[in-house]
Subunit: 559 residues, 2 copies
């Protein structure tokens, strides 16, 4: 008998691959196993496609049992591109250096876990489109379910009178922000896990890392295993605080990234460079990815909270050769209790609570700021991208055409055998060469000055894409505060409970403002450094051109 | 009764406005007055158009009288563009700064002779297409008829057995080269008219001007006459050898140019800047024309023969206010006997005659050279023209778009009120301004460096357009030598007559090689100077950009 489900809410498809469903519509399912929170089936009109698992209840032998409407992939799910709802502007970002992590290309098939993959795991050999979610053994994406089941369990014992968000896709819910504010998070916070927000000159800020360090990423080298049947690129990481080199692969970064996103609800985890299906062993790609990883690493080590967290330290320090130690740390990180809602338990705030009205105004200001910054970085990125393209093609061509024309003229002049003409002919020929060289300079320049700008913008566009969720969590908390105040006034909630919500909202607000403060500080640092670098490179570039022209001019002295 | 003519030869029309005629075909004429050697009429098929006056005989009352088939305009005729046969390549030149003087646009209507024009002489008011040849009183083009009538007269008394060229459009014939070689030229050569070709290091060359001078062209100013109803631009000319300023108008240059072309058959007279129908009083045009006239003047004063000739000296030195003296000199120049064929009488050659085989090889080499130089200057001109266009539009736009994007970014950043961000915001804003300024630099630059290159190329393209005719005259003379040798061998010509042809061919060859030598010398001088100027300007340009960027970079120091 076909598996069927009833729609609980209306759902309007917005992307290819989705189908619209109406409340109470009966759907035929292909499988009751959801894919990152989505189910595939046929609606009553016979249209086939995907719809949110949480919008339907599965019908079992005529007995109606509500589908456990928490996406099994958890909040760190990577839905396939076609399923991911994103505003047009974010879709535009796909053309930039980094993609949002939501845009997983079906790549890195032979770059999967050593301990689970086999040589047979070649692209297209197992499973279909969602292969890495379904057929890949104990995948990184599965693991997080445990934390969500726990969240689910906590939810079950909740007795709060403050309304619960029905939208299971809400970041406020997914991040654990709601559970925390409602007082449902609990866990044992070790001293080492304690994260301090202190009151700084400009408001709440993360306590500085007392042991700052950086980490070099060098020598990407191609490694092989299974007698050369599988290849991957290994990077040498050398953190300054240990001076011990460790080797890491892209998939390790990817795994770490997933852990961090899962663990820190209001911290903007820098996006790792995008995945790429083909050409992963080409020099250009490797160099580009390394630069992306360096940028990422710089933002990781600069962040007072991220830099110090256990999973990152494990990643940086665990001896790559000691497989047992690595797996131990990996499992520990995957079982970390202090993630999501519980992360907020680890935060210690300044003594005086924040003025929520002021917080709200600050957050709103920042929201406007990120919108403007996002628009302007998008525009700058498009301009710079086009400028690079023009220099590589058009500018180069124009200068080289001038060079070529000078050379053709000198060749015509060489037909005149007059002695007094020889010097001039050579000088014009040299000028032609100089302009061809200048054309080449123009083509080479963007990799020196515009590419770093684009790398910077891509990294920041990643951050800017994180902030709507972060802001959403804080705003969700604030809404709960307002609701609880209303409930208290109406006598539906006791003052102590409301007080708890207030306190927990203060924690979320402190963390959010600290994160915003950190964002501004690294933004000013990074943009200053990059603008200086860009201008220095541009100056060198124009000086190099000037030098070449001066060399050409000298040739005329004795012509 | 309609005026009729009989075709003496076949003529195949090749351009719009012409009609083909067959030998013995009877044609109906509109007027027996030819227009620069062309008659207008209807052929037996009823097709209306122009054909060469020299190809027909006019039928008068059934009495056949041969039309004086020498174009009344002489070799300096300026047929309207539609009538002028020119290879496609020369047609291409029309897009360049200078046009060949053959391309007379119907402009300068109110710029005609003071002593003949009236206010009524406005475009379109009198006559039709050939207005300036027909309705303009004693025009510059009419005057030359006298010399050609004389040539005709000389022709009548010729008794040479060497065949005469039937093609009356041949430069060899038109220039008077043929008449001279055949010994038909005669005239009294004054000492002051003597032009010396000396044997130099590289072969025959013009004797240097013992009194070299230059001439400044300044202050183009708008003048009016007839109570402001007519306007023209007057240029102040100050030759260094007199230091007396004279005022000249474009039409004076035009008149002088016509005199020079008429007088010197194997000298490449630099072309004057093209005529222009509209916008003659616009600042850009005036500045451009002045530059063109300066180039022209430079080539005139640099030429040992042209610089010293009477008509040029009259032009340079005659007090503009002394109308009587001006008209006297003008009439004298127009009645000059030592033009065309007679010009060769004024040439004194080195003692030893040239080896004609060597001459032929040199001329052939130069012919190849001019072809190559013409091709390469055309290409360079097109490239440079496009390069200028790109800098003015594309390059400017790209740099300004980058500037604008930086400014937009700084505006977004200004939304963040953090104190530590202010310096950066200002620096980025300044960088944006710097890039907008750099865009402007790119747009301004071509007028400083590429325009002079284009002016140079245009002037040389004028010279290169002159050389086929010059080479044609020399080759015609050489052909006559070969024919005469054959005739002597066949006993059809006495040795003395052939000797005379030889001697006269030697004169033409000496003059031609001297002119070629002069061409190479000024070419090397001009291209060296212009390439140096170009590179110096380019260096300043890139230094200016570097300076602007350094200024921007400094803004980050305290950001």
């Amino acid at each position: 008998m076909a598996l069927r489900a009833r729609a609980l809410y209306d759902f309007n498809s917005e992307n290819p691959g989705e189908v619209s469903v109406k409340e109470n519509e009966i759907l035929t399912l292909y499988s009751e196993q959801d894919i990152e929170g989505w189910l595939e089936g046929v609606n009553s009109k016979g249209e086939r496609g995907l719809f949110p698992a949480s919008y339907v209840e599965i019908l079992r032998n005529d007995a109606t049992s509500t589908y456990a409407n928490i996406p099994s992939g958890g909040f760190n799910a990577f839905p396939p591109p076609a399923l991911q709802r994103q505003p047009p502007q974010q879709q535009q970002q796909q053309q930039h250096t980094y993609q949002s992590p939501g845009q997983v290309s079906d790549d890195d098939w032979d770059d999967d876990w050593d301990d689970s993959s086999t040589v047979a795991d070649e692209p297209g050999t197992v499973g279909g489109r969602y292969h890495d979610y379904e057929g890949n053994g104990p995948s990184t994406y599965r693991v997080s379910t445990s934390s969500m089941s726990r969240g689910n369990a906590q939810q079950a014992k909740s007795s709060a009178t403050v309304s619960r968000n029905l939208n299971r896709f809400s970041t406020f819910v997914k991040s654990g922000g709601e559970a925390f504010v409602l007082g449902e998070a609990s866990g044992f916070v070790k001293d080492g896990d304690k994260i301090c927000v202190v009151m700084g000159q400009y408001g709440p800020e993360w306590q500085e890392n007392p042991y700052p360090f950086t980490c070099a990423i060098d020598d990407p080298t191609k490694q092989t295993k299974f007698k050369g049947m599988k290849s991957y690129i290994s990077y040498k990481l050398t953190p300054t605080h240990t001076q011990n080199q460790v080797n890491r692969r892209y998939k390790h970064f990817d795994w770490l990234y997933a852990r961090l996103v899962e663990k820190f609800p209001v911290i903007s985890v820098p996006h790792i460079p995008e995945k790429q299906a083909t050409g992963r062993f080409e020099e250009d790609f490797i160099s580009k990815r390394r630069k992306g990883l360096i940028w990422w690493m710089n933002h990781m080590t600069s962040h007072p909270v991220l830099a110090r967290c256990d999973v990152f330290q494990h990643f940086l320090t665990c001896n790559s050769a000691d497989e047992k130690a690595w797996k131990q740390g990996k499992r520990k990180a995957e079982k970390d209790e202090m993630v999501g809602a519980n992360f907020f338990l680890t935060i210690s705030t300044p003594a005086s609570p924040l003025d929520f009205q002021e917080v709200e105004s600050k957050i709103d200001g920042f929201k406007t700021f990120t919108k403007r910054m996002d628009d302007s970085t998008l525009q700058l990125n498009a301009t710079v991208n086009e400028f690079a393209r023009k220099q590589i093609s058009g500018f180069k061509k124009e200068y080289q055409k001038v060079g070529m024309s000078f050379k053709v003229l000198s060749q015509a002049f060489e037909m005149d055998q007059q002695v007094y003409s020889t010097g001039l002919n050579q000088a014009i020929s040299f000028t032609g060469d100089a302009y061809e060289a200048i054309g080449e300079y123009f083509a080479e320049q963007p990799s020196k000055d515009l590419d770093p700008i684009m790398d910077l913008l891509a990294l920041y566009q990643g951050h800017l894409a994180n902030y709507p969720d972060i802001i959403h969590v804080q705003k969700g908390a604030l809404t709960k505060v307002k609701e609880s105040q209303k409930h208290v006034e109406e006598g539906k909630m006791d003052r102590a409970q409301a007080e708890g919500i207030n306190e927990r909202c203060n924690i979320i607000s402190c963390a959010t403002l600290a994160e915003i403060q950190h964002f501004h500080q690294i933004r000013v640092r990074d943009f200053k450094a990059q603008m200086q670098h860009y201008l220095q490179q541009q100056i060198s570039f124009f000086q190099k051109i000037t030098g070449k022209l001066e060399e050409a001019l000298q040739k005329y002295d004795n012509a």
